[in-house]
């Protein structure tokens, strides 16, 4: 989604009422952030909006990127935020062979998750299509990709092929490299 570098753009302050709504939305989508919300978005801090290509908007506080949103899609946390609070999102894991493709912006395909190095949640904790997940990599600690699932995890397991995440935010993409200062 952010394969190209993003040119520096204007930013604007978000009204506090809009900021409150966003905060609520973030909590609704990711209950995992609940314990940390005061730290992520303190009530007093002023939220800023930065326009991104494809009509997406990135929200920041004091030049720290927090999350981005496209239209009224669920907000997606920036990878830096996920690195700071890794437990907030459901995680899946890809095998080592897939890392280099993911980091060059390819869509994530099912075999990377179903192979021995990958990991998917068990049936009780199955994730639905559309759920935003963080993707870890085999042998690594940090998350390397975040995006919305195209198919549910159970379907991935049964089918074992096809696209899983096609528009994500990965390490080293335009959004990651975006300078905010």
């Amino acid at each position: 989604m952010f394969k190209k570098d993003i040119p520096p753009t204007n930013r604007s302050k978000v009204k506090s009422s809009a900021a409150r709504a966003l905060r609520q939305k973030l909590l609704d989508t990711y209950p995992g952030f609940e314990p940390y919300i005061e730290e992520i978005m303190p009530k007093k801090a002023s939220l800023e909006a930065v326009k991104l290509p494809e009509r997406a908007t990135l929200y920041t506080i004091d030049s720290n990127p927090l999350f981005f949103q496209r239209f009224d899609d669920p907000p997606v946390p920036h990878l830096r935020l996920i690195h700071a609070f890794p437990s907030a999102l459901p995680t899946v894991q890809i095998d080592r062979g897939a890392i280099r493709f993911v980091l060059s912006g390819a869509t994530l395909m099912a075999p990377g998750l179903t192979s021995p190095g990958g990991r998917l949640p068990d049936a009780e904790h199955a994730l639905e299509a559309g759920q935003v997940v963080a993707v870890k990599a085999e042998g690594k600690e940090e998350v390397c990709l975040v995006g919305a699932l195209k198919v549910g995890t159970e379907e991935i397991k049964s089918k074992g092929k096809g696209v899983v995440i096609d528009e994500g935010h990965y390490l080293g993409d335009g959004l990651w490299k975006l300078h905010l200062d």
Binding site: H83, R100, G139
Partner: protein
């Protein structure tokens, strides 16, 4: 830029992640960033403990043993290609930087009135728009980013301030801009035929 400073007034629960100073990724992903060698050097110099953990014999062997040989070879080839490309890019960039000049032009606008046009800043990693604003503040005149007929962007500062601009550039951005690459030009006459030809 190397670390996330997420320390709030309340007790911070955020993990602090170290990011590589060369490729900005978390160090464990440096091998995929295309500048693996430089990253490794950086890590060794700045975070010795992390370096010893990531580049120890065991860790390297563990990485390799999990892949089949053919995949390993392909990945290695890929990485080498990427690295070569990155190195090439960098070399080209440096060359371009050395060859190109920042032109500070004094253009006559009216008999005794001048504007100063600055061209070629973006090659040195400076942002036109931001700089224009700063210059306007510094020189206390109007300053804006304009499009030249050739389609490139340039900064136009009102008044004859070429000397001051040069001085200011060297003072504030001296690390990015070598003095030899700044050129002062005086356009005495306004050439009428210049318009579409350029």
């Amino acid at each position: 830029m190397a670390e996330v400073a997420d320390s709030g007034p309340i007790e911070s629960q955020a993990r602090r992640v170290v990011y590589c100073g060369v490729c900005t990724l978390p160090p464990e992903y440096c091998e995929f960033g295309g500048t693996a060698k430089k990253c490794e050097e950086w890590l060794k110099a700045n975070h010795e403990d992390l370096w010893s953990r990531l580049h120890s014999e065991d860790a390297l062997n563990a990485n390799l043993s999990e892949l089949s040989v053919s995949v390993q070879e392909r990945a290695a080839k890929d990485a080498a290609k990427k690295e070569a490309k990155a190195a090439q890019n960098e070399a080209r960039d440096a060359e371009r930087k050395a060859a190109s000049k920042i032109q500070i032009k004094r253009v006559e606008r009216n008999k005794r009135k001048y504007v100063t046009v600055i061209i070629g800043l973006e090659i040195f990693g400076l942002e036109n728009k931001k700089l224009a604003k700063e210059l306007g503040k510094k020189m206390a005149t109007g300053s804006s980013v304009t499009r030249s007929p050739a389609g490139t962007e340039e900064i136009t500062v009102q008044g004859d301030v070429s000397e001051d601009v040069k001085e200011w550039l060297l003072e504030t951005y001296g690390s990015k801009v070598p003095e030899a690459n700044i050129e002062l030009i005086e356009d005495k006459k306004k050439k009428k035929a210049e318009g579409p030809a350029v």
